[in-house]
């Protein structure tokens, strides 16, 4: 197991370096961080442009620029944004915000997906199965931004109207400045009110696809010989399904969920945008690509890629836990 992990990590580092090189090349070819100043009226003096070119390292050869970035990144220094802030400082804050947003969403989605997937498989072609299937496909088909807008309009609007005060919020993590004037319980309910809609939005959309995986994996398992054998040996149906069926049916879902979580750490881009959470997705789009900021894009890439790699590793380890026959040596 240990050597397997080491091997995976070494391979991942090589993949990270190769991908950072490709993305650096792409950004260096297409980004021009000075472009917004050319049409500034009055035009800044030439010394201003020369100074920025020097500061951003634009006068250096491409390979020198890449090496400068890479050697910094290897020591944990992702360079500065074009606004002069350390990328590392910004990344942790962004990651924390995205983490807060997705943690409970993933938790809820996994629990729901397993429940609904198992129920759907056990009661195949029963009304409950049809209902959950319909719901899952409906959620899969809904565009995130639209689903979020519906939640805001009807769920937030409806609940707030029903209570006659603000219970659910549509913007940000907490009411601005509430820490300065709210009591601890007000702050608590305020944060919870901000967390509910993005969590529901992300959870339901992720759950929909995952529940389908869980259902088909469960169906596969239920039809297998060892399940029949377990029943023939006199185990109760409930014990067969829970102990022998579910455990095996979780293996495919583990891969899907692990990959999904890794990707979500790169930013639930649309959900962040719609609910105005300043997380990783916004960081890539606005601060990175929008500002033509190569250090931001690469910092984002590395951190997101690390999470994808990490959760893949976790998935591999979980395989071994769920299926004792798998021993990675």
């Amino acid at each position: 197991m240990f050597f397997f992990t080491i091997r995976r990590i070494i391979a991942s580092v090589l993949v990270l370096i190769a991908s950072s090189f490709l993305v650096f090349a792409l950004c260096a070819a297409s980004f021009d961080p000075l472009s917004r100043y050319y049409t500034q009226n009055p035009r800044p003096p030439q010394a201003f442009f020369d100074n920025l070119r020097e500061q951003f390292g634009l006068n250096d050869n491409f390979f020198v620029r890449y090496w400068n970035w890479l050697s910094g990144a290897l020591t944990g220094d992702f360079g500065q944004t074009i606004g002069g802030t350390a990328v590392t400082d910004q990344l942790w804050g962004r990651l924390w915000i995205t983490g807060k947003m997705i943690f409970f969403a993933v938790l809820i989605a996994v629990v729901l997906a397993i429940l609904v997937g198992v129920v759907g498989a056990v009661r195949q072609y029963k009304p409950s199965d049809y209902a959950f299937t319909f719901l899952a496909y409906l959620l899969i088909a809904l565009p995130t931004f639209w689903f979020a807008a519906l939640l805001k309009e009807f769920v937030a609007g409806g609940i707030n109207d029903a209570f006659g005060r603000q219970v659910l919020y549509t913007l940000g993590e907490e009411s601005p400045g509430i820490a300065s004037y709210g009591t601890p319980s007000e702050i608590f309910w305020d944060r919870l009110g901000h967390l509910v809609l993005p969590t529901i939005c992300l959870a339901l959309l992720s759950f929909a696809a995952w529940s389908r995986f869980q259902r088909s994996a469960m169906l596969d398992v239920l039809g297998s010989d060892y399940m029949r054998l377990a029943r023939a040996k006199g185990l109760t149906y409930r014990r067969t399904v829970m102990k022998h069926g579910l455990r095996n049916a979780l293996i495919p879902l583990t891969t899907v969920v692990a990959l999904g979580i890794g990707t979500l750490f790169g930013g639930a881009i649309i959900t962040e945008q719609v609910f105005v959470w300043h997380g990783m997705g916004e960081y890539l789009l606005k601060n990175g690509i929008g500002q033509n900021d190569i250090n931001v894009v690469l910092g984002w890439l590395l951190i997101s890629a690390v999470f994808v790699v990490l959760f893949n590793l976790i998935a591999d380890v979980l395989y071994a836990v769920l299926d004792p026959r798998i021993r990675l040596a």
């Binding site: 297409s30 021009d32 472009s35 917004r36 100043y37 050319y38 049409t39 500034q40 009226n41 009055p42 035009r43 800044p44 003096p45 010394a47 201003f48 100074n51 920025l52 944004t81 074009i82 606004g83 002069g84 802030t85 804050g93 924390w96 915000i97 807060k100 409970f104 938790l107 809820i108 629990v111 429940l115 198992v118 056990v122 931004f145 807008a149 805001k152 937030a156 707030n160 919020y169 549509t170 913007l171 940000g172 993590e173 907490e174 009411s175 601005p176 400045g177 820490a179 300065s180 004037y181 309910w189 944060r191 919870l192 509910v196 409930r238 945008q273 719609v274 300043h278 916004e282 606005k286």
Partner: protein, 573 residues
Amino acid sequence: MKFSKRGAALVATGIAGAMVLSACGGGSSDSGGGEGDSGSGRVIFGESTDFPENLFPYIAAGNATSVANLLIRVLPGPYVVNPDFSVDWDQDLLASEPELDTSSGQVNTYEINPDAVWSDGTPITAADFEFTWRANRSSDPADGGCPALLGTTGYEQIASVEASGDDDKTVTVTYTTPFSDWQSLFGNLLPAHVMDNDDPAALCESITNGWPIADGIMDDISGGPWQIKAENIDVGSQIVTLTPNPEWWGEPTGLAQLVVQNIGNDPTAAVQAMSNQELGVIYPQPQLDLVSQIEDLSPAVESDVNFGLSFEHLDFNTTYGPLSSLAVRQAFTMALDRQEIVDQTVGQFSSDAEVLENRIFFNNQPQYQDTAPDEYKTQNTAMAKSLLESDGWVLGSDGVYAKDGQRLTVQIDTTANNPLRETTINVMIPQLAEAGIEATFNANPDIFAGAEKPTSLEAGGFQAAVFAWVGSPFRGATQSIYEQPQGDAIGQNYSRQGTQEIDDLFAQFQTEPDPDAQAELGNQIDALLWGQVATVPLYQKPTFIAYQSSISGVEDNSTQAGPLWNADTWTVQ
């Protein structure tokens, strides 16, 4: 299989409990409360541009609309730009109207209000004017300047800034060469006692670092009714809370807190947050859906469309074959129905939208004159065709003119993903087709890139382009757009066209301190620019403000002063 009710309840409790824990968990910094005895209530302003990384307004990192909005009532300046584009002296900072003496060169005298102090109690004096000048006067380190400065315009023409009078409250600014836009200077007065350094290199380093957002403004200094304390800046949540400046000597603020929250540019998020009363005031880029949805929230939410300092125009590249001919440019302009373009674009937002007939002054400026010749005022297809024919162009069987085997085709470039500009060009195309000119639309991602990108405005690899100039009521800066190119040094004259007469008038325009005489010169210049038709003005872009009707005093200022220009007078019920 059945799940027990108890199991389901456990799962539900677990999840709910987890969310509860998350809500308890910290993550955002504590924000200090409002201080001072003035004002009550709080208003949240939804900033839709960005969250700044630096608050120092004179460098690239602090050169953002969001910074200008935050600082408008924090750092004082001698002049206030009003919503009607007029300019008045600031009666809080100054004791009397500044004097202009042109008897020998240009000398301005400012009398600072004896009560004016910074938020730490230090008096605002001539030393602050002198320091602001010295910090901004040069970008050449050899001359004691700083290359990080975004501009030195105006300050570089000042010979000296001297103190006199009681407590150094009289400021005398002497210019080496007259500067017509002198009222635009000292707009963000810098605190000398906090920032000054006798060593120019150390001062330049301090300017280059600026005021990083996480640290706030140096020493939390303020010279206006609002103060930004570092403890009230929440970088993670992108929220800045302004509180009353305890040392403010003018009328106290109407609110206890003004909160500026970055809400991004998603129009749906802004509308729903207004509907849910999470925001008090928003100032987004107007889009048709957004405006109509906000109007649906009336009377709880009030809104207003105005026309601001940014104007769209069509630029011809006069080095491109057909467009190098004046007759072709004239015919092109005659073929356009600019009223129709306005109706189909900004006219959708407000019936007040007008065709802009002047490049130097805006429709809503007092100096504005309609200088356009009659033939360009309405669509004039027949005249356009006859002009082309007299220039040797022959109408082909495909309905497009050609000359010496070259068809009269023009590709009109613009920025990618800009619906307003795309509509503008798409309205032009059939109008031009009627006059036998084949125009095509091209979204050019490199349009504003440097000269190393061949299709950029800088490199000149375009044929025609639609884009905007963002200006201020001080119009001297337009010189670099219309001055003749000197070899490769084109300034911002992307059409690469000009005359000596225009250059000479601009030289006077820049140095005429008398506002009336300057206005006359500006309109003369614009009349000459119509003679060249290297650029065609189209329309001013709209601004859009919306606010909860419980908030009083909100008024759009579509100049660079922005929506928060009078936020110290707002009150909330």
